[in-house]
């Protein structure tokens, strides 16, 4: 591998994209992209769109139709469930975490609201890009789908009694 070469690392650091490398490390630690080939992951990072959000910016609202999955590269994001009485924080996601993943499977409504907790940099994967990956790059899309299936099954296992009560899967 070109980048793993010691000589390249020593004499050509000026020509290497170190910021992207640190983002790659963050992504490969996250559950959605784990086990993915570094070359494929680098392709994803090059193709996808990054956006900075200031603290307090609403990324999406509950009830909106979901068209993209977001991955936190820097900063943190709060996931909030709105109710009539109070807003409940479901989780605070840090670098490497993702949210809005159900948008990859189908055009579902957002279950909760996402708000930038601090100034954050997010990587956004749009559904049509993922559909194109399924068509033309089965290795990448299969890995992501497998990870997604694992995330969902993990959720079901952890919430078995509740699922039985509600008789509804996520």
């Amino acid at each position: 591998m070109f980048l793993d070469n010691k000589i390249v690392r020593r004499y050509f650091t000026w020509a290497l994209d170190t910021t992207r490398e640190s983002h790659l490390a963050t992504l490969s630690d996250g559950p959605l992209f784990k086990g993915m080939d570094k070359k494929l992951l680098r392709k994803l990072v090059i193709d996808l769109i990054e956006k900075k959000y200031s603290a307090g910016d609403i990324i999406f609202h509950e009830g909106e139709s979901g068209k993209a999955v977001y991955v936190v590269l820097e900063g943190s994001v709060k996931i909030i469930k709105e109710s009539n009485l109070e807003n409940k924080i479901l989780s605070v996601l840090g670098p490497g975490s993702h949210f809005g993943e159900l948008a990859l499977i189908g055009h579902t409504s957002r279950f909760a609201t996402a708000v930038a907790d601090k100034d954050s940099l997010l990587l956004i994967m749009y559904k049509s890009y993922f559909d194109d990956l399924i068509r033309y790059n089965s290795a990448t899309s299969a890995r992501i789908l497998l990870n997604l299936a694992e995330i969902l099954s993990d959720y079901i296992h952890r919430n078995q009694p509740e699922c039985n009560d509600e008789k509804v899967l996520p």
């Binding site: 020509a15 992207r20 956006k51 990324i59 139709s65 996931i79 989780s91 749009y126």
Partner: protein
Amino acid sequence: MTDERHKNGTSLTDSRKLRNQMPRWVLILLALGVAAVIASRITQLLMMMIAAVVIAYIFSSVIKAFERLGIKRSVAVILLFVLAGVFVIAADLIFIPDLKQEVMNVYAKCPEFSHQIKDALLLIAQDSAGRYPFIESSIMNLVDNVFGPSGFLERTPNASKILKQATPFIMAFILVPFFVFFLLKDWPGVKKRVMAWVPPSYVETTISVIEEINILVGKYLRGLAVDCFVIGVLASAGLWLIGINYHISLGILSGVANIVPYFGPIVGCTVSSLVALMQYRSFDPVWNVVVLYLVIKLMDDLIMQPLLIGKGVHLHPMLLVITLIVVENLFGIMGMILGVPVVTAAQKTAAILLEHHRETLRRKSKVSLIERPLVKSPVRPI
């Protein structure tokens, strides 16, 4: 009754909102109109910019390949230009002498070719004099206009005219690579800056537009390149089968001309027909050439274009011809080449924005009605 009034109230509010937004849409349309007028006044610069965008788009895949190796984008662009320079120098040393010889040969034979065409046309005029007098008069007019003493071919251009016509090409030779360099180097930065301006509620729609246009333009350019190659090969093989000279050059010309929808195949067919007429001095082989080009056009429309370019880049035939005529008038030949993908992209963008607008209205009318059970678990896929 209350529900009815509530519903009516919602729809009335929506229509009022739409009415309030009308001036904004009118302003956007006006701005687009003004931009089109300005663009038509600075066509040369605009065409150079568009050519640079197309070249940058094609070479962006090479830059991405370098980036996948972990190389910085700016370094990748410099590497690409160095490689292109080496390629041009190598081509200049290896191919240019032969090509120069070919061009000189064709240039030397030009008077001979023009005499051959003139003789063939006069022969046809003589043949048709008795039966079809209108054909004879039309051909004689054409011969006078092209080969006569004040005809098109006899006009000798002076040095200042040549310089005036060559200036845009020299400018393009310098400016297009300059634009390509900065487009390739700074494109991700521009994208980031644009995304920073986009309000959070429009992010997904904006990305949707970018993705759709990216997929559409990529599909169109790649499909068009393969389509032109196949058309060139088919035309060349067909002309060789019916015994027309210069079938390889004519095939290349047909392939290149095919870039312009509808008018391109007509150009290829006309030039090949002229060569057939010159070669055989009879109309029979011309019919063979016309049938060959019709068959190729049918194959292109029914098999190749749906397969290569797909249904993504599809304009109604009437809209397509109107588009071609309008863009030809505004931007010339380059406009004809790029008119179709640009109009299709505009069509898609409008559809996405309209969908976003509808969804915003729907959400605003429903926002108070959303009620879902509260989930106890802190982590759930959303």
